[in-house]
Symmetry: C2
């Protein structure tokens, strides 16, 4: 029998999960739950239902894992604990500083419901965290580096769009090659914020807006741009739609450390991602962990888990024998 | 209390484990077991014993995890099952084709002894396998690529040393940059053996040996060199010792795959290692898994495990709370 997947929230991430289900033969999409009027939501999967989130409790025995596709700011802190009482759930909660609190809330709710809840799944947090953790366990004496990009930062794009005179905008975060090379050298350099990333902005102005003033407002914006070397390009709306409507992202996690009786040998562990679609890749990671949630629950486990707590084999549709014979 | 480590076999790997223990505050080296006369073996750790392997059974309750540092060809297939009856064990068995058989042997021995045996730990197999497995679970539709180097291949160096007229030799396996770039492109190219790696040999001749003949014998050697573009440099023994006595290695594991309703988006996951010392890095991975073996055994588990079966958090000396707060 297939693993029956439910999706709560049909934005970029929800659609990504829907697409990823199609690539996993042991899964099927059962229902998409929305806060909108279900009749206005058109999904791609003909065999799945679209339902109001207010009816979700009726699906308790018809869904094996519910994927929560809301935002980390206000949706997930409420939704993940709430639905972990009813379903095995997976979310991509990414407010790093609030993870301990979110973990505690989901843990008690999931235990109450006898379900498994896996939080902060994706690539950052998620695969990046995992690689950082493995690398730290292997090289106890060393230094971590994380670089993001080249890719679209939704938060920075939004910040530009809020400036008066800006009609539309897209911001790319770009790792600085020289800084990456310095991290790879094994010399454990200290790198400043400005040395590690640059920011490139493509901005469409409202009619009659003052370009120089908008540019000045962008490059001096605290937290978002002031600490970076930022380039601003003014382009037409047509050009923005034609060349900048994708959501690519990626990045690099490195650990550089030493071994040997006198710490005489250097080692560099590097993990990197180059993604055409940030939400679709995140969705693909989420689905692998949905498989794990399903299996762990079948084993009788409950409570909150993260990528650190789950043995890799649980993510794969292949058996232990197959994995050992083909991938070890 | 510290995790008490025993080492069986004091070659490059055994010495690497000894050095790595010093970097892990929750571990101590208790004893090194050798097939040689213990009086002839000088170890670096003043507080550890050097003992004959024939006395190893006496240490059953004094060692928490025994690290098996023998070779995969003849030592480990015998030693790992034998000692898994007495101790929790970790090995770096790397004959990929024989892993299923080795797993079965260690599994029954470890279960008989009520111990945990973790096999094929290191980087290949080990961290490379793990990254391949994660990447396959995340991107079910895609293609895997593995590149080795730049680094010393012991097997190829040995093969050269067996040629008549060769006094000493070191062989480097080198990934071809153009092939790496092709794999990173996301175009899923088919790459031949010759396209992926080149081989560079540094050879010291015996007095009076025929260089042209030796070179011809190397580059045409079946399996080892015939399928590669191979460069041979003849150098003096002094130069070999001065510039080629290290054991660096490393490599790249990539998976390139697609997502999206029409498979329209490409993604590349890449993991790479750049290692000054192959045995010391392998030892560092082994010790992280020794910590896992110890903890799993404390939980009452037994039998054979691989890197696929062990939740990442077991490898770290940090608590779950710390890991979530600092590394997730």
């Amino acid at each position: 029998m297939s693993i029956r997947i439910g999706i709560l929230g049909y934005g970029n991430l929800g659609r990504g999960v829907e697409c990823a289900v199609k690539q996993n033969a042991d899964m099927e999409l059962t229902a998409v739950f929305t806060r909108r009027n279900p009749e206005t939501v058109n999904i791609l999967t003909k065999t799945a239902s679209v339902c109001s989130v207010s009816d979700i409790a009726d699906w308790k025995d018809k869904i094996d894992v519910l994927i929560l596709c809301g935002g980390s700011a206000t949706d997930l802190p409420v939704q993940t604990p709430e639905y972990a009482k009813l379903f095995n759930v997976v979310d991509s909660f990414d407010t790093h500083a609030r993870i301990p609190e979110h973990f505690a809330n989901v843990d008690s709710a999931a235990k109450e419901g006898g379900n498994v809840g896996i939080i902060s799944v994706g690539w950052d947090p998620g695969m990046f965290s995992l690689n950082r953790m493995y690398a730290n366990a292997i090289l106890p004496e060393g230094k971590d580096y994380t670089f993001w990009g080249k890719g679209v930062s939704q938060g920075h794009s939004d910040a530009i769009r809020r400036i008066k005179g800006v009609k539309n905008a897209k911001q790319y975060t770009i790792p600085v090659e020289a800084a990456l090379e310095a991290a790879r050298s094994g010399e454990n350099p200290e790198l400043t914020t400005r040395q590690k990333h640059t920011r490139e902005c493509f901005v469409v102005l409202e009619e009659g807006a003052d370009a120089a003033k908008v540019e000045q407002e962008i490059v001096t914006m605290p937290n978002y741009f002031a600490d970076y070397d930022t380039t601003v390009h003014f382009i037409s709306e047509e050009e923005l739609l034609a060349n900048h409507s994708g959501i690519p992202h990626g990045g690099f996690v490195l650990r550089s450390g030493v071994t040997g009786w006198e710490k005489e040998n250097k080692h560099v562990i590097e993990y990197s991602l180059k993604l055409d679609s940030n939400p679709e890749f995140t969705s693909s990671v989420i689905l692998a962990y949905a498989r794990a949630a399903y299996r762990l629950a079948k084993e009788g486990q409950s409570g909150c888990k993260t990528v650190f707590d789950i043995a890799p084999a649980y993510l794969s549709a292949k058996s232990g024998e197959e994995l050992r014979a083909r991938l070890l």
